[in-house]
């Protein structure tokens, strides 16, 4: 792994009541790295991701972003979240705002940018995802793929240190998946650090630096995509990979 870790998860535990979902996860993501997380349903992938911007409160362990402990008691949550973008499976665009409005909201109300500056930056972010012509469209006038790209633009506009993706393409019709993956690929080329939960194996094979396989709240195996998909060592990894390869 090149460089110091931008994201450093150490011995992370998370329980919901009696249900232990994360059981001591250690994971480091280097700057500009694209790490894929795969694993069966319920293995804790989303929970891990959501702990990384504290949408979920870890039960134990520590998470560092760029050397700063975001799990510290007095950590400024809103400042931390501003620096970590998140893209959701269900897009979660604000339905009462245009694409541009969606992207501008945090620029205006969190970064306190003047309107003209925020608009310029929002348009630039929409341009990056190939949607500058849809700035004035409302979410219900956009296809799923376009909505997800607006959601990516909303995260990018804040110029985050890294972006978390939770199954960004699994709510999309197959023919719309490509446009979103293309945007993610361009982000990677621009050097964005990304932690991606997804089962898009083909994309993982040619874009991911590393694939992490989770099962039952633990990281079972990790390595370069060729190794995980081509020659998995652990039987559970083998099982899972053969399932998603079908």
């Amino acid at each position: 792994m090149a460089g110091k870790p931008l994201l450093d998860v150490r011995a992370l535990y998370k329980s919901f009541g009696k249900l232990e979902v994360l059981k001591g996860v250690d994971l480091a993501v280097a700057e500009k790295e694209l790490v894929f997380v795969i694993g069966p349903s319920g293995s804790g992938k989303s929970t891990l991701l959501r702990c990384c911007n504290r949408l979920e409160e870890p039960s134990d362990g520590a998470i560092y972003v760029d050397g700063e402990e975001i799990t510290a008691k007095l950590a400024d949550l809103n400042a931390i979240r501003r620096g970590i973008g998140m893209v959701f499976q269900s897009f979660n665009l604000y339905p009462h705002m245009t694409a541009e409005g969606n992207v501008m909201l945090a620029l205006r109300k969190v970064l306190k940018q003047p309107k003209a500056e925020a608009r310029e930056r929002a348009l630039a972010a929409l341009e990056r995802v190939g949607l500058s012509d849809k700035a004035d469209s409302y979410p219900n006038q956009l296809s799923g793929g376009q909505q997800q790209r607006v959601a990516i633009a909303r995260a990018l506009a804040l110029e985050p240190k890294m972006v978390l993706f939770d199954e960004p393409t699994s709510a999309l019709d197959p023919e719309l998946v490509g446009s979103v993956l293309e945007v993610m690929r361009s982000l990677r080329e621009a050097g964005m650090t990304m932690l991606v939960v997804s089962h898009e194996m083909r994309f993982a094979r040619d874009a991911a630096d590393r694939v992490v396989f989770m099962d039952g709240g633990n990281i079972v195996e990790q390595g370069p995509p060729e190794a995980i998909f081509g020659n998995p060592q652990h039987p559970r990894t083998r099982d899972f990979v053969s399932q998603i390869a079908r």
Binding site: Y94, L105, V110
Partner: protein
């Protein structure tokens, strides 16, 4: 002699006697105007308080949430007439006396606040969790998320039930008549007892129709206007 004609004449004479109508028209108009501004006052203050309470409750601080829940339950359970009589005849005993107008306004505003708080709250709870998460993940704090992301959606969802409830409660301005508020019904019943004729009551009914039919139509328009498809 044709008995049908006398019946018809008697009917006209007791419900549409023109000289009685002309005589009491000014007092009915006064009542109409009073009902208008009492209703407006109830709607504005009741909805504002209801919205405020729903927002406070969204912060889920146990004490305020509990107090608001108790307030909402009590005000929704109690018949407004009982509350009006209690305030009007009960409070002077402890040295607080308010005019009938103030008592009616206060009661109906509190009832509307209680119902609208519950309706706004339902709207807030019905807004998908993902909206909160998306907004919070961009660094918006709780209050701004509520203000810019959640409430605009919640309020849209609540327009139809809110309109119906507001109309229903506003009609209760007629209850003011029992504590001497000179609104439409009061003016009409007073005129009816002075004249010994039911025509003023008919005028009162017409007054209510003139006031509330447009409101009902407006409510229907708002409902269709805001019936939008969710994402």
């Amino acid at each position: 002699m044709n008995p049908e004609i006398t019946q018809w004449d008697r009917f006209l004479d007791s419900f549409f006697k023109l000289e009685v109508m002309a005589k009491y028209l000014p007092s009915i108009i006064d009542g109409f105007l009073l009902t208008c501004h009492l209703a407006l006052l109830v709607v504005v203050t009741g909805l504002t308080l209801g919205l405020f309470l729903a927002i406070v409750r969204a912060y889920e601080f146990w004490l305020t949430s509990w107090l608001i829940a108790v307030f909402a339950d009590v005000m929704r359970a109690l018949p407004p007439l009982v509350f009006i009589l209690l305030l009007y005849f009960g409070l002077p005993a402890v040295g607080i006396s308010m005019s009938g107008y103030v008592v009616t306004w206060l009661t109906l505003a509190l009832v509307l606040a209680a119902f609208s708080e519950e309706i706004f709250r339902a709207g807030i709870l019905a807004t998908p969790k993902g909206q909160w998460e998306a907004a919070r993940s961009t660094g918006l704090n709780f209050g701004r998320t509520l203000a810019y992301v959640i409430m605009p959606q919640a309020i849209r969802m609540t327009v139809p039930p809110l309109t119906n409830r507001t109309i229903a409660i506003t009609k209760n301005t007629a209850l003011g008549t029992v504590v001497g508020v000179g609104e439409i019904l009061n003016a009409a019943t007073t005129a009816q007892s002075f004249s010994g004729n039911a025509s003023p009551l008919v005028m009162g009914a017409l007054g209510y129709l003139i006031l509330f039919v447009p409101v009902v139509i407006f409510g229907r328009w708002v409902e269709t206007r805001f019936a939008w498809q969710k994402q």
